[in-house]
Symmetry: C2
Subunit: 140 residues, 2 copies
DNA sequence: GTTTATGCAAATTCTTTGCAATACT
DNA sequence: AGTATTGCAAAGAATTTGCATAAAC
């Protein structure tokens, strides 16, 4: 399994550029969902705002990151947990996210698995997203 | 239980204005989550864009509506199911939303109840939001 | 009559697009 | 060398703020 930014980019057939490496590194380091603004805060001295937008777009299209639901209005993104191993199936995305009201961070809770949802007749379920809001272990 | 816009506004100690009545009526009529843009489309001839923003803000603060998670980026809102009865508890918001990829509508699925989620040690659960993406009964 | 909401203009913020210069393979 | 990515400028949306007028209580 890939573990460093360069290998991940190679696995996804993306050119290796400084911005992509740094964005990836930031996701790996922060271990929480990040918005464009979060990334910009860390990287604005080095890369243009627009480049970060385009990097996120590219990563989304390559299934390297995915959108994380959030009630703050800002779109947040997180690394696809096993995306680096080449398993590009949709269910990579199906996990539980936890948003802390105190520190504002959104993280993936891997320990909790998603319950099966039975929908009414005629509904086709493609993807399930669960967001729990509350206070995290560091803030409580 | 209150059922018309005027009574709902009274119950929430809000002044009765045309814009508030119309926004409420639209939510009741459409029965799906609406974004500011959705409301504007219906009401722009009558009310200013800004007034609709402010109405949504007021309704949010009064717990008359709540944010609905959505992966489209646009913030959507929905009526709090029992908010009109004066029960302002947080669990009003805990339902399952379904977003149809075909028609783009987001609706509340009342038939499905939220599974209990057990979080890791130290996490305090305040609110649970579940979004299922797929195809609805009308589009499938 | 006093308080609160509205409409309009304008300021901010967020996101996208075009294009020449640069970096990657 | 050839193609994709970047930075900058600028356009386009989305959202917020200030203030005078109008509506609600």
């Amino acid at each position: 399994m890939a573990q460093n930014p360069v290998k991940i980019l190679q696995n996804h057939q993306l050119r290796i550029t400084n911005c992509r490496k740094e964005v990836l590194r930031t996701f790996m380091e922060k271990k929480s969902a990040l918005s464009h603004a979060d990334l910009e805060e860390d990287l604005k001295e080095v890369f243009d705002r627009v480049t970060i937008y385009r990097t996120l777009k590219t990563f989304l299209e390559t299934d390297l990151i995915h959108k994380v639901l959030d009630d703050s209005g800002a779109t947040k993104y997180a690394l696809c947990a096993h995306g680096h191993e080449g398993s590009h199936n949709r269910h990579d995305h199906e996990h539980v996210h936890f948003k802390c009201e105190a520190c504002g961070r959104t993280i993936c809770i891997d320990e909790v698995s998603l319950p099966k949802i039975k929908l009414p007749e005629g509904y086709v379920n493609k993807e399930v997203n669960l967001l729990v809001t509350g206070v995290c272990n560091k803030c409580s």
